[in-house]
C-alpha cells in the first residue's frame, strides 16, 4: 500500500520562447504512494499539466529525475517511453480522445491490440472493463453516438483495461457538466478505493479536488501546498 509509485526529484522544465524563457516547473519534488488519489491543482500556468505530462513520459524535464514504478524515465528512448505508457500508465484526456471510427468496445480493445493480447482475452477484458463502468450495453456504439460523460467513461475503461500501475487524468471534467462530473469522479473514487488504483489528476475544478485524498497545489512552477485530505 505504501510503495512509492512516482518519485520526482528536482524537476525543472523551461520553455524556450523567442523573447525570453518560461520556467514552467522550478525544482519540484513529489512522491506519490501506491493507492493515493492525488490532485494537482493551481491556476493556469502553474505547471500542473506540465508535471503530469512529465510523470506520464509525454514530456521530458530539463532537470531532475522522475521515477515511475521504479523506472527512471530519463534514461528511456522515445520507443521505450511509448512502451512504458502502453503497459504501465493509463491516460484519461480532457477531450476523451477516442478513435472516432472504432466502437466503444473496439476503443477499449485497441490498447490491448497494441499489447498483442489474443482476440478472445482482449474481448473478455474489454467487456469487463466497460461493464465495471456501467457501459456494458454501449459497446457497439461509436463515440459520436455517446454523451460526453459516456465517452469519458469509455476513455477510463480504455485506460484501466491494461491494469496500469498509475492512472493519469488531465482535466477530466473540463468538458462535462457538474452532474456528469460527479458521476465520473464517483467512478474514479471507486477505482481508487476498491482496486487500489493510484490516480493523479491535474485539475482546477474544485469538484474534482473534493474527491481526492491528497491535494497538491502548484503556483508559478512550484508546490505551494501538499496536504492529505482526511477521509
Amino acid at each position: 500500500m505504501n510503495d512509492v509509485v512516482v518519485e520526482c526529484e528536482g524537476i525543472e522544465r523551461v520553455y524556450q520562447d523567442d523573447a525570453f524563457p518560461v520556467r514552467a516547473l522550478n525544482s519540484v519534488d513529489l512522491s506519490v504512494n501506491d493507492g493515493e488519489f492525488v490532485s494537482l491543482s493551481g491556476p493556469s500556468g502553474s505547471g500542473k499539466s506540465t508535471l503530469l505530462n512529465i510523470i506520464g513520459g509525454l514530456d521530458r524535464p530539463d532537470g531532475g529525475v522522475v521515477n515511475v514504478g521504479g523506472v527512471d524515465l530519463g534514461g528511456l528512448s522515445d520507443s521505450a517511453l511509448a512502451d512504458m505508457r502502453l503497459h504501465k500508465i493509463g491516460f484519461v484526456f480532457q477531450s476523451y480522445n477516442l478513435i472516432p471510427v472504432l466502437t466503444a468496445l473496439e476503443n477499449v480493445e485497441f490498447i490491448l491490440q497494441l499489447q498483442s493480447v489474443s482476440a478472445a482475452s482482449r474481448r473478455e477484458r474489454a467487456l469487463h472493463s466497460l461493464d465495471s463502468l456501467g457501459l456494458g450495453d454501449l459497446g457497439k456504439r461509436r463515440p459520436g453516438e455517446l454523451s460526453g460523460g459516456q465517452q469519458q467513461r469509455v476513455a477510463i475503461a480504455r485506460a484501466i483495461v491494461t491494469d496500469p500501475i498509475l492512472l493519469l487524468a488531465d482535466e477530466p471534467s473540463a468538458n462535462l457538466d457538474s452532474t456528469t462530473t460527479h458521476e465520473l469522479l464517483e467512478v474514479l473514487r471507486d477505482l481508487n478505493k476498491s482496486q487500489g488504483m493510484t490516480i493523479i489528476t491535474a485539475t482546477h475544478d474544485p469538484i474534482v479536488m473534493g474527491y481526492t485524498t491528497r491535494k497538491v497545489q502548484l503556483v508559478d512552477g512550484g508546490i505551494e501546498q501538499d496536504e492529505a485530505v482526511p477521509e
Partner: protein
C-alpha cells in the same frame, strides 16, 4: 494482430471520408485506365512493327554468306543441301524459306526500273507477306514456275499488266549479264507501296537456272514466338559455320529501335500520368493526416509507436491506390474490349506506313502489362505516403494533443 488493427483502422478511415476518397478512386481509376488502354495500342503497334519487319522477307532469323549484306550479288551465295531442314523443334519453327535475292533491272515496253529479283519456293513463303497477299491474276505455282509476280505499283509504273511480258537483266554467277523475258502471272497488292515497287518474284529453280548456280543467297527462318529468337539463333550459329546468322533486329535496326522505343513510350506515358496523379494523392493524404493530428497524438500518448503510425498512413495509401487500380484496370479492359477489333487508321495510311504500321491498328492486351501497371501504381502509392506519414509523426504527442 497489430497488422489487423492497422488494416481495420485504415479501412475505417477510408470509409469515413467517402466523398473525398471516391473522388480520389475515380482519379486513380481514370489514370490507370488511360495507361492500360494506351498500352494495348502501343503493344499493337509493336506487334505490327514486328510482323511487318519479319514478313518483309526478313523472318526472325536469316542466314547469308559473309559479305552479302554489303554486296548482295549471286557471288555472295552458298549451297544448301537438297534435304536440308533447320534443326529447330516443330513447336518453335513456323517455317523456313530458301531464296535467291539479287539486284536486277526490269523493262517493259515503256519503262525501266531497278528491282530486287527474288527466286522463291512459293510453298515455303507462308512465312512472309507473299503467303497471304492479295493477287490479281495467279500466284506462282512452284519453284519451277518461270513466270513473275510483280507488285501492283510497279506494274502501274511500268505501264504493264497481267499477261504481258517483261525483260529482266541481272548478273550471273560467272559475273556476266543475263537477260530473259518473263510473263507476268499476277500482280500482288501489299500493305503500302514500298514492297510493291521493289520485289519481283519468280520460281527459285528458274532463277538458279538463269544465273547458272545451284546456290541460294539467303535462308529465312520464321518462329512461332519472338521470345524463341535468341535460343534458335544460337542453334543455327552452331550449324551454319562460316555463314552469317542474323536476327531481324540486326537486319532491320530502325525497326528494332522503334520496337524498343515503344517500350520506353509505355514507361514515359505511365510516369507522366501517374506523376500528375501522385501530387493529388499526396495532397489528399496530407489533408487526411493533418485532420487527425490530435488522434495520432492520442494514440502515441497511450503507447502506439511512431512506426505503427507511419504504417497506418502507408497502408491507407496502399488501400486507396489498390481500390483505384482495380477499378482502373477494369475500365482499361473495357476500353480495350471496345476497340479490340482494331482502330482504322486508313485516313493516315500514308503516314503510318512510314512507321511500318498497317492501316488497322489492333490493340494487344498483355497480362504482364496490367500487372506491371498495378504493381508500379501501388509502389508509387507507397512513395506518395511517405511524406504525409513523416508529417504525422513529426509532431510530438504532447503538441498534437494541445491542438
Amino acid at each position: 494482430m497489430v497488422l489487423k488493427l492497422i488494416l481495420q483502422l485504415s479501412l475505417r478511415n477510408i470509409a469515413r471520408h467517402k466523398r473525398r476518397n471516391i473522388m480520389l478512386f475515380a482519379a486513380i481509376a481514370v489514370a490507370v485506365a488511360g495507361v492500360s488502354a494506351t498500352n494495348t495500342l502501343i503493344r499493337g503497334f509493336q506487334a505490327d512493327l514486328l510482323d511487318s519487319s519479319i514478313s518483309n522477307l526478313t523472318g526472325h532469323i536469316k542466314i547469308h554468306a559473309p559479305g552479302y549484306r554489303d554486296d548482295p550479288t549471286i557471288q555472295k551465295s552458298f549451297e544448301l543441301a537438297k534435304n536440308f531442314a533447320p534443326d529447330v523443334p516443330a513447336e518453335e519453327l513456323l517455317g523456313w524459306a530458301p531464296r535467291i535475292r539479287i539486284p536486277a533491272v526490269i523493262m517493259s515496253e515503256r519503262e525501266t526500273r531497278g528491282i530486287q529479283l527474288v527466286g522463291v519456293d512459293p510453298n515455303a513463303e507462308h512465312i512472309s507477306f507473299l503467303g497471304n497477299v492479295p493477287i490479281d491474276g495467279e500466284a506462282l505455282s512452284g519453284s519451277d514456275d518461270g513466270q513473275v509476280l510483280v507488285g501492283r505499283e510497279l506494274a502501274r509504273q511500268l505501264e504493264t499488266k497481267v499477261g504481258r511480258r517483261l525483260v529482266i537483266i541481272t548478273q550471273g554467277a560467272d559475273g556476266l549479264n543475263r537477260e530473259r523475258g518473263f510473263r507476268i502471272v499476277g500482280t500482288y497488292d501489299a500493305e503500302g507501296t514500298a514492297l510493291e515497287k521493289i520485289f519481283v518474284f519468280s520460281g527459285l529453280e528458274k532463277i538458279q537456272e538463269l544465273l547458272d548456280t545451284p546456290n541460294v543467297t539467303e535462308v529465312s527462318v520464321r518462329l512461332h514466338q519472338e521470345s524463341q529468337r535468341i535460343s534458335v539463333k544460337r542453334r543455327l550459329l552452331d550449324f551454319f559455320v562460316g555463314l552469317e546468322v542474323m536476327d531481324w533486329r540486326e537486319l532491320e535496326p530502325q525497326a528494332a529501335t522503334m520496337y524498343l522505343f515503344a517500350d520506353s513510350i509505355i514507361f514515359i506515358w505511365f510516369a507522366v500520368l501517374m506523376s500528375a496523379l501522385i501530387f493529388g494523392l499526396v495532397n489528399t493524404l496530407i489533408a487526411a493526416v493533418m485532420e487527425r493530428v490530435k488522434e495520432f497524438g492520442m494514440v502515441r500518448a497511450i503507447g502506439m509507436r511512431k512506426s505503427m503510425v507511419i504504417s497506418q498512413v502507408v497502408v491507407e495509401s496502399i488501400f486507396i491506390m489498390s481500390i483505384g487500380v482495380v477499378f482502373g484496370l477494369m475500365m482499361g479492359y473495357g476500353l480495350y474490349a471496345s476497340i479490340a477489333d482494331g482502330l482504322d487508321l486508313g485516313q493516315f495510311a500514308g503516314g503510318v506506313a512510314t512507321f511500318g504500321m498497317r492501316s488497322m491498328l489492333v490493340p494487344i492486351l498483355r497480362p504482364s502489362d496490367f500487372v506491371l501497371v498495378a504493381a508500379l501504381s501501388i509502389g508509387l502509392g507507397v512513395l506518395a505516403s511517405l511524406y504525409p506519414a513523416w508529417r504525422a509523426v513529426k509532431i510530438t504527442p504532447l503538441d498534437a494533443l494541445r491542438r
